[in-house]
């Protein structure tokens, strides 16, 4: 364990020692690598599918990381923004409201067959923006009642909101405020418009490359936002609030605005990923919006390293692969490979739990801990802090 840690540390040190131009060159090379990666795999194959989902989960995780990792507000109801983002595209990017405009539909920026369909059809980019706005507003609304609360009381209020939104998703087919149902319940809103993006042709179910590039673009955008915010005045305010709210307030950090901006940013990224997931899965189904999803995303950021941007991305990719690839493929065929014939599907639940426990016990501070915390560790700054990881040898 120590050896692995030292290895990562030496990589980090080596990276810091490089010339900025060399670092930039490496960055561009990595980016180009990820862009051309899909050409080495089947267009509709498992690899691109899993990679796309992992990237979209990374966007979700980066969003939650702003709330939990940067600002220290434990949010257990993140599924609410997945749901809201997904419903935004369900409302504005499908034939769900077929009665609109006497069945002729409402079209903005869509071409081809979609342009003829009844219902409201906005261009995918517009829908993404709408999803970000809707979720940011709801993020603030959900954040408001938690402003007076601290610690895990915030967790329970956000959890409650998540559960309520899940219930509305299930029962919303009987809620008709203006004669239009809010959701389609468990029947689901299907199909969702395929994105119609300039330069990207054929978003089909059998050619996943455009989906992959879209997800990659969203992930890069989220990374960019995360890095810029972390190093901004606002980011420092978040970290101040996380470390000591009273001290931050007395130093002039506006608590209400700082916290609400964290909720709004996190919700916005979650909503963007939610809308993408809905389009990619081709459905908005109330079955998806359960508490376990919030926990899944939370596990990604804690496993990756709370507050650490690269850690969160790593955590998202690892857990997403375990869930979509390792357990259904590798693990299931394990007995087959060693010549046995039994089915491990019914143990997958427990294996998932077991992996969570093992990974957390072996690396409690996360895969790639936040640099600030690491500094605190090695240099003994702020040793009195309660949330600070103290290295334990395992």
């Amino acid at each position: 364990m120590t050896a692995i840690r030292d290895f990562f540390r030496s990589i980090g040190d080596a990276w810091d020692g490089l010339h900025p131009n060399v670092r930039r060159a490496i960055g561009v090379a990595v980016l180009v690598f990820f862009i051309v990666l899909p050409f080495f795999f089947t267009a509709g194959g498992t690899f691109i599918d899993n990679a796309t989902r992992a990237l979209a989960y990374a966007v979700m995780a980066l969003g939650l990381n702003v709330v939990v990792g940067f600002a220290g507000l434990l949010d257990l109801g993140y599924v609410a923004f997945y749901a809201l983002g997904a419903f935004t595209i369900g409302w504005f990017g499908s034939s769900f409201y077929a009665q609109v405009n006497h069945g002729k539909g409402l079209h903005i920026g869509v071409t081809g067959v979609t342009g003829q369909l009844p219902g409201i059809h906005f261009n995918f980019l517009l829908v993404l923006v709408a999803a970000v706005i809707v979720c940011a507003i709801f993020g603030v609304l959900i954040g408001l009642p938690t402003l007076r609360l601290r610690g895990d009381y915030i967790a329970i209020v956000t959890l409650a909101f998540g559960e309520i939104i899940g219930r509305v998703a299930i029962n919303g087919d009987s809620l008709k405020p203006f004669g239009y149902a809010v959701t389609a319940g468990r029947q689901g809103i299907t199909p969702i418009d395929s994105p119609d993006l300039p330069g990207l042709a054929s978003f089909g179910p059998l050619d996943l490359r455009p989906w992959y590039w879209t997800a990659l673009g969203m992930a890069l955008l989220s990374l960019f936002v995360s890095f810029r915010l972390r190093d901004s005045r606002l980011g420092r305010a978040w970290i101040a609030v996380r470390e000591d709210e009273v001290a931050a307030a007395s130093m002039g950090v506006p608590l209400v605005r700082t916290k609400l901006l964290a909720y709004a940013t996190g919700a916005g990224l979650g909503g963007m990923a939610g809308a993408f997931f809905a389009a990619y899965f081709n459905t908005v189904n109330a079955d998806q919006f359960e508490f376990s999803f919030s926990i899944f995303i939370l596990a990604m950021i804690i496993l990756g390293g709370l507050g650490s941007i690269w850690g969160v991305v790593a955590g998202a990719i690892v857990l997403s692969y375990i869930n979509t690839y390792f357990i259904p493929n590798t693990f299931k065929s394990l007995p087959h490979h060693i010549g046995l014939n039994f089915d491990l599907t019914d143990l997958s639940f427990g294996i998932f739990g077991f992996l969570l426990v093992i990974m957390m016990v072996l690396r409690p501070q996360g895969l790639i801990p936040e640099r600030r915390r690491k500094l605190e560790l090695t240099e003994g700054v702020g040793a009195g802090d309660s949330e600070m990881p103290i290295e334990v040898s395992v």
Partner: protein, 411 residues
Amino acid sequence: MLVAGLAVFVAACGGGSSGSSTGSTASGKTLTVYSSLPLQGASRTNSEALVNGIKLALNQAGGKAGQFTINYKSLDDSTAQTGKWDPGQTSSDARQAAQDKSTILYIGEFNSGASAISIPILNRAGIGQISPANTAVGLTSNAAGASPGEPEKYYPTGKRNYVRVVPKDTIQGAAVATVMKSDGCKKPYILNDKEVYGQGLATNTSDSLKTAGIPPLGNDGWDSKAANYRSVASKLAGKGVDCVFLSGIVDNNGVQLTKDIAAGIPNAKIYAPDGFCESGWVSPKEGGVPTSLDSRLQCTVATLDPGSYPPAGKKFFQQYEAKYGKGNLNPYAIYGYAAMSLALDAIKRAGSNGNNRQDVINALFSTKNLPSVLGTFSIDKNGDTSITDYGLYSVKNGQIVFSRVVKPSAG
């Protein structure tokens, strides 16, 4: 700026990446039939029964259909993280089948919401799909109960590729209403499990009851995760309800619901659809309701009196009972068996073109008077089965017993 650069790059290579065409003729003499069902979590019991039925049908046929050897691959449309069907996994399964050159047919999904996702993918790939469990009206037709745009929105190529062996909700709803009327129900009430199947069936049953002149006093959802339904029962008792129809599947806490309704409304008769009609509902040994309630329970299944099964069906029952225990009538095992039997029959009827996907789809849609465990049926142009007769089953000593055939009067 990164994103902008990305968009330009992607634009440059967009042309090269388009369209992976899938050959319509499966290669070789060995063909694969896929199934995609939720094998994890609460639906596992029913999915296992389906898989058992599918395997039995293939075994009986000696693993062959006509001149072709048939492989069977069971896929899972659920994930460990959710413990239930997952849209991502569903599309992933459909894609896997679409990209396997030996794929000839696809059996699935269990949930109508999931089929709504896999049908369009398989439709583009030109692969036939047989559902052993979907009853939602809108998947095949625009009859009452379908949403606007259904069913065309599921078939992007404009050609049909989806058939099902279970009758759509309207048929069973009419059958249940017929039974309730003949039993003298005056104040019926419908409870549904809020799933696509339960809710759709509840709506159709409600319509049929209205037509029959005994409109239901209400049609409510029940929360499948509740600990008990004492207060739901006392609500119904307060309204003087005399018959209750439980529209859903027994796995959604149906045993608890049945017990609480029976205790809360002491004289009410309880009716249930095929989703309940299994030993897990009524056999105390398998965790069903106590036998003291037996005389008050009835359920409908689209299966015949086991005495009038065709030879293959009788053999199926003998084998199934030998393997999984007597009286263990899980309707999903029967539906799984029927689905695989139909698949094999279609491949066989396509003759030497049995490896041509479109020919097999055509064979599916031209199914006429096929004898099966579900009775003799044909497939219409929408992909629906022609079966309208329902078997009414009662419960004796913790076992489900055939009582009579119901011919639904007006839907």
